[in-house]
């Protein structure tokens, strides 16, 4: 149900990029992003090579260009807006076109990483890097139940819509808040069951 807004590719596709070790991909992505952020704008060699690397990754991993373009457009309305507005003002044009370029390159890098690497793999690398276990467990649980709760909220929204006609704005707010409160209660009950299940399977 959540596939329409998730839109992830991994699992269905296999390519040399998908099979690379996760630690290597994560390290390379962080290096590319930090480098792109820090390097001054006139260092065109860096931006050129980043663009070449990313193009190669796109070609080898066979991720559809349309999908990438959609992700970039959906995620960067703020960047595009600011860049477009400032592009007409000579004083800030250079700076903001540069920021937009950097921002787009970083976003492309993260999108490629997320779509060629399973999330659990990234968590395993972070575990090896001694990120606190409590934080990692929390991230792993969030990632696992994200879609479950999103679907649950979708179902509750539909149930609410099928029971109430469009009413005044005040009541709409109140019913939606009740849905969210109910969602928290369900999440909390689910957490208890998950804890029991984890203990039953030998989690310490």
């Amino acid at each position: 149900m959540s596939a329409h807004w998730l839109g992830h590719h991994h699992g269905q596709q296999q390519s040399p990029v998908h099979r690379l070790p996760v630690a290597l991909k994560l390290g390379a992505a962080l290096l590319l992003i930090l480098g792109t952020v820090i390097v001054p704008l006139d260092f065109t060699l860096w931006f050129g090579s980043v663009a070449v690397v990313l193009t190669l990754v796109i070609l080898i991993s066979r991720i559809s260009l349309l999908f990438l373009a959609k992700r970039l457009l959906v995620l960067s309305p703020f960047v595009l807006g600011v860049a477009l507005v400032n592009a007409f003002h000579p004083a800030t044009r250079g700076l903001w076109l540069g920021v937009a370029l950097k921002s787009a390159l970083c976003l492309l890098t993260v999108t490629l990483l997320a779509n060629t690497t399973p999330f659990s793999g990234i968590l395993r690398v972070l575990q090896r890097m001694h990120v606190p276990a409590l934080l990692l467990t929390t991230i792993a649980l969030m990632h696992r139940y994200l879609f479950v709760l999103a679907d649950e909220s979708e179902r509750m929204k539909r149930a609410r819509a099928s029971r109430t006609f469009t009413r005044t704005r005040r009541l709409q707010w109140q019913t939606r808040a009740t849905v969210i409160g109910q969602l928290f209660i369900r999440a909390s009950e689910r957490a208890e069951r998950i804890y029991d299940a984890m203990c039953a399977r030998g989690w310490k």
Binding site: S153, R169, A191
Partner: protein, 318 residues
């Protein structure tokens, strides 16, 4: 308020990352000490809950809609340490899985929306709830805390953008604060409504009530937030009167940029008849906060039928 990559320079990235790591470290320690193992999976579920709750849209005027941000709500439900951990988790997953917010700016985003928002929102909520006892007072304090947390996070964000030399302080401050003054009102309203909905049906689920107010905890997050404000905001507050002319000279195009970024016709929040200066801004801030707190008290009276309503005795919904 998610800052994308490239909007902050190297020094801001480094400082915000250090501040965020310290805050998250403190929060993790507090959670490990206080939260029984049985409740720990709830952190992950609460993070997933915040994510799902952010997808529920609330209708605002003219066909636009807003959604919950959730920092103050989760702190009020689970406690401040858990709140910081949950918001951090949400931001990490949004960044790496959905590309929402940059990787290099993750520290800044965690600092603004995790530490400043949760810490300040929670501190205001608990302090005001103590001054105004009863469920009405609690709801009012929570609504006000949620509003203030949104505005403070926006101020911190504007400070970081200015410190990076990307957006001039005056432009960034005006744009961010004026938008988030309004967003914060929605946030306070939703937070109060959701808190009441949980309180009516399952009050025992709220782990934070009944916990004594621990001064040390508030002081730690407060200090961290204050440190951040001192680093990001103070440099602009001092040369403010001198900077005014420079800003005015540039105002021609910067106002245009601001106007097209925010399509809504926003009333400026400074006091008419006075020249725009730090004094007027501070005065406007104080008056605005008082007005919002008055609204929050009214909201509490409106939402909670009788002051002596006991938990569990409220009207059953559904």
């Amino acid at each position: 308020m998610h800052i994308p990559d490239g909007f902050l320079d190297a020094k801001t990235v480094a400082v915000t990352a250090a501040l965020a790591a310290t805050g998250v470290g403190l929060a993790l320690r507090a959670v490990r000490r206080e939260l029984p193992p049985r409740r720990r999976p709830l952190l992950g579920l609460a993070a997933a809950f915040i994510f799902a709750a952010q997808m529920v849209n609330f209708p605002v005027l003219g066909g636009t809609s807003g959604h919950l941000i959730g920092g103050t709500l989760v702190a009020a439900l689970l406690g401040p340490g858990a709140g910081v951990v949950v918001m951090t988790t949400v931001l990490i997953v949004q960044c790496f899985l959905f590309g929402d917010g940059g990787v290099s700016t993750l520290g800044a985003n965690i600092f603004n929306m995790g530490i400043v928002s949760v810490g300040c929102g929670y501190a205001l909520y608990r302090l005001l709830a103590r001054m105004f006892p009863g469920l009405r007072g609690q709801v009012a304090a929570l609504a006000f805390g949620a509003w203030a947390s949104t505005v403070l996070a926006a101020i911190s964000c504007a400070g970081q953008l200015a410190w990076s030399g990307r957006v001039p302080w005056a432009t960034g401050f005006t744009a961010m604060v004026s938008v988030h003054l309004l967003i914060g009102i929605g946030e306070g309203f939703i937070t109060a409504l959701v808190f009441l909905a949980v309180h009516r049906t399952r009050p025992e689920i709220i782990t934070d009530t009944g916990r004594p107010l621990r001064g040390g905890e508030l002081i730690r997050y407060g200090l961290l937030a204050a440190l951040g404000v001192a680093v990001f905001v103070a440099p602009f507050a001092c040369p403010w009167p001198d900077g005014l002319e420079a800003v005015a000279a540039r105002l021609g195009f910067e106002h245009q940029a601001t106007a097209s970024l925010i399509p809504a016709p926003l009333a400026d929040y400074h006091i008419p008849g006075r020249h725009w200066g730090p004094g007027a801004t501070a005065l406007a801030g104080v008056i605005g906060s008082l007005v919002v707190f008055g609204l929050a008290l009214a909201l509490g009276r409106w939402l909670v039928p009788q002051p002596e309503t006991k938990p569990g005795a409220g009207p059953g919904n559904s």
